[in-house]
Symmetry: C2
Subunit: 194 residues, 2 copies
DNA sequence: TTGTCCATGTAAACAGTTACATGATTGA
DNA sequence: TCAATCATGTAACTGTTTACATGGACAA
């Protein structure tokens, strides 16, 4: 049920099209939530029917329209209500851990597994750091747009929350990197010639 | 697609019923993967049809049977193949982060949010530590069963992989706790009288 | 006899992915 | 003119959750 709030949240910064949302889910917002356009367009229709968003047709040429969605007051209130609720933690579903604990009959695959894990999170950390730097430097477009029409005090909170979110994900990546490196060190003590 | 491997992995330790699997997904294995019985029974049927598991009827009373599933050689091979593959990382979907970054209009909810986050992961860490202690002490039933029919060297790998998995999840919990505590400290500097 | 656990299923709804489908605009 | 990007949709399939459905065993 978070898809709709990801959409409402995005539109709470500025109006946009379904295509904008799909693009955003592939880049910025995609760190926290993602969806394909095949999921976005039907959800936008439902949100419109429920009165949480409003759709305006904008001509992009003579006979072609695009649809710009914006939050209604009811939509803004629905978002506020949702962000006020306590977080709900979904059940763990970690295929990688399954590979690990049931991979005791294929230990020869461990080295590649752990290396891939480390590399994956090194890359992740890199991209997260770039985003966090952009936020800190004030060059992050979406954050700039969100901060724009807020008071100085409110803007500071917006900024801090983004920093918390990205710093948290960076910390997660670092935990994974340290874990993989520890595990690789152990592996070396077990099979030194490899 | 990991559900089937969670099942194959479970059965690779010892045969069991669908009910056993459901119970296990609610407890031990549930840390890494979970499923309801409504998903398990159909999957067991498919695995049987594909020849990866084998089902035997065992009488529990005169006219009632239960069905004990065990891995076939093909099933064991399918599991080996899967654990040999590199991990696949699913797209992030983190509703809590969305609540955070779009919660800049409801900052009054932040304190409860962060406290709940910390408490959630403190509890998680506690339960994880208990499990890891049981593994270290050799009192963890499933691990004991898995280690039982292995050579000393193979058993050591089984043990180490479990320890890695649980230690990794403990490290994750600790990252979350530290993150929430840092954020709470910042909150106090912003709104000291609360 | 009542509640809990054991045990196995199906059905409907919801969420997410992949594939099918179309067409305009823009820049190399 | 060819490829990339903009733009919007539907259909089929897979995976997950919630609800419906049934019945035996066992202990308080």
């Amino acid at each position: 049920m978070s898809l709709r709030y990801a959409i409402l949240g995005y539109l709470s910064t500025a109006p946009g099209t379904g295509y904008d949302l799909a693009r955003q889910f592939d880049t910025g917002l995609g760190w926290f939530w993602t969806a394909n356009h095949s999921q976005i367009y039907p959800e936008l229709r439902r949100l419109t029917e429920e009165g949480l968003v409003e759709r305006d047709a904008t001509a992009i040429s003579e006979n072609v329209d695009k649809f710009v969605y914006s939050l209604t007051p009811a939509g803004r209130e629905a978002l506020r209500e949702w962000t006020s609720q306590l977080p709900v933690y979904p059940p763990n579903r970690d295929g990688e851990r399954l590979q690990l604990i049931f991979g005791d009959e294929t230990p020869e695959a461990l080295h590649a597994h752990l290396t891939a894990h480390r590399d994956h999170f090194v890359q992740r950390r890199q991209r997260l750091k770039e985003t966090l730097d952009a936020i800190d430097a004030g060059t992050h477009e979406r954050v700039k747009a969100r901060v724009a029409n807020r008071s100085k005090k409110a803007a500071a909170i917006t900024l801090k929350l983004r920093q918390l979110a990205y710093a948290g994900d960076i910390a997660r990546a670092e935990t994974e990197i340290a874990w993989a490196e520890d595990a690789l060190k152990w592996l070396e003590t077990v099979r030194p010639q490899k």
